[in-house]
């Protein structure tokens, strides 16, 4: 886990990590959220509607924004304040996603940072983007 403090965070600082989406992650998200929409749980239904298969929950992929800030940037001293996100392309089981973030703004007075984040699949397609605001509780 990274431990960036305000004093060593600069505009442009970047971090990223990758994750493979397997079906067990969808099953666990279903258990937590109870989102039974057939687009996420019924392969045949999803194909009928023009998708390649079960569509991964957008908020499951967005949950990795929590990991991005809580573990990588800034890491330990993060307190998440807001995520403004857009889902740009469907994500399917078996895909490898790379979640990346870059510091775009620092409010030094109140120790708030802003991170421009993206999620890109194994083909280099951007599936999601977000603006994330976090505080820093490093003192």
């Amino acid at each position: 886990m990274n431990e960036y403090k305000l004093s060593n965070i600069k505009i442009g600082l970047e971090e990223s990590f990758s994750v493979v989406i397997d079906s067990s992650k969808l099953d666990k998200f279903l258990d937590i959220s109870n989102d039974l929409n057939p687009l996420h749980v019924d392969n045949s239904y999803a194909k009928e509607k023009g998708f390649d298969g079960r569509v991964v929950y957008g908020l499951l992929t967005a949950s990795f924004y929590s990991t991005l800030v809580g573990v990588y940037l800034p890491g330990k001293y993060c307190i998440l304040q807001s995520i403004d996100t857009q889902f740009l392309k469907p994500v399917y089981i078996g895909e490898t996603l790379t979640i990346a973030g870059k510091i775009s703004y620092i409010n030094a007075a109140y120790k708030q940072i802003e991170i421009q984040a993206t999620i890109v699949n194994q083909n280099g397609q951007k599936v999601s983007k977000a603006t994330i605001k976090t505080g820093l509780i490093d003192e």
């Binding site: 409010n107 007075a109 708030q112």
Partner: protein, 80 residues
């Protein structure tokens, strides 16, 4: 930039942060008068003002501000 220009820019920021297109503020408006003006939105207001006007505040400057008029006075000092 005139004080009126600054005020109009700040009012637009308040409307955006508090999601009220017809919100009217004045120099004496304070956090007591806007229900959603909590500590987090206060930080968001300061961040939005810093970015929009390309200025930076120190914590000490912000702690003494009583209302929007005082904020605009401080901004006017920084912008001239």
């Amino acid at each position: 930039m005139t004080r009126e220009d600054i005020f109009n820019g700040v009012q637009d920021i308040f409307r955006d942060i508090f999601d009220e297109d017809d919100l009217i503020v004045n120099d004496r408006t304070s956090s007591d008068e806007i229900e959603d003006w909590d500590s987090l939105n206060h930080i968001n207001l300061v961040s939005a003002i810093e970015k929009e006007f390309h200025i930076r505040f120190a914590l000490g400057e912000l702690q003494t501000l009583k209302d929007i008029g005082a904020m605009i006075d401080l901004m006017e000092e920084k912008l001239t």
